[in-house]
Symmetry: C2
DNA sequence: CGGCTATTGTTTATATATGAACTATTCATG
DNA sequence: CATGAATAGTTCATATATAAACAATAGCCG
């Protein structure tokens, strides 16, 4: 269904390129809202899931990642990581550790509870993701990824 | 460039469908950040621009839209619209009016200043959008929109 | 008419997000 | 080695976002 119909607009979106941009924008937004609801039952937010996912799959065993690394991998401001980790420490999902050799860094690691929560929800989330993207054929989804890569590539230039 | 390289991930994204979903998610996010910076020079936010754009193009002349209508068209919670309109009223971009016949509603209308700010930025923003989406051919961008519509269609079912 | 129900907008608590200014450290270079 | 630049994390002010609970109002229906 056309985005303008979904949003209940009375008049159509005039510029084709704007329609494309709004489609990316709103679809991302809708997927985010959907993820938020999914994870709410498990006592975490979509943002917290993404952070734990990164910690589990990207950090070398028992080392963790610094807040700066998390900030870069999640495309999120450093100050936002601070408050995010504050909340997640309070919820006993992650812990801050000192990094030997450079006292500026915090190493963030999953707690056993954090790992348990993550593993408890990861498989069913991936099934949900497969169902959602399964609306597209393999070649369609690959083309979609290529198109989005092209758009991001164009952004990097100017 | 692959998303995982852009984010500096050490290990790739394993599930193809998850890669597609993250591409939508992060591309939308990056476009939003880009829009925020663009509008900042003009003293408004991207969210405020979108709201004014809707008001200007979707409301019948001099009538305005209710907060509920804005909430539906922007896919945003009612309570968020309240605080958004609060800030925009303070910035003299919009005004709340009573709706004759139903005292529950507020009609939101652009102020002359709001209209001026909008018209002052709209054309150059659309040029920027055309440049960004111009990374794709016409048929590519049409295919992109179709794929995103399919994904949203699938979401509506369950 | 009178009460039940639905709707609009608001308030509050909470989470996420940025940018600017700050502290503490580390690094680089003369 | 000393000092100035760069970096990591924090704090603060502000904007956006949701959900839940609430008041005011409107509509429905016996």
């Amino acid at each position: 269904m056309k985005l303008e119909k979904e949003l209940g607009l009375k008049k159509g979106i005039q510029v084709r390129e704007h329609e494309a941009l709004l489609n990316i924008y709103f679809t991302g937004d809708i997927l985010k809202k959907r993820a938020r609801v999914f994870f709410k039952d498990h006592g975490i937010t979509d943002v917290q899931f993404n952070l734990m996912e990164i910690l589990y799959h990207q950090a070398d065993d028992g080392i963790g990642l610094t807040q700066r690394e998390l900030s870069r991998m999640l495309l999120v401001n450093r100050s936002n990581i601070t408050s995010l980790i504050d909340r997640m420490e309070k919820a006993k999902l992650v812990t801050r550790f000192d990094v030997p050799g450079d006292r500026r860094y915090n190493a963030i690691r999953l707690t056993p509870r954090g790992k348990e929560v993550l593993l408890n929800v990861e498989d069913s989330y991936m099934e949900e993701v497969k169902r959602i993207i399964g609306a597209l054929s393999k070649s369609e989804s690959e083309q979609l990824v290529k198109s989005l890569e092209k758009i991001r590539q164009g952004l990097r230039k100017k």
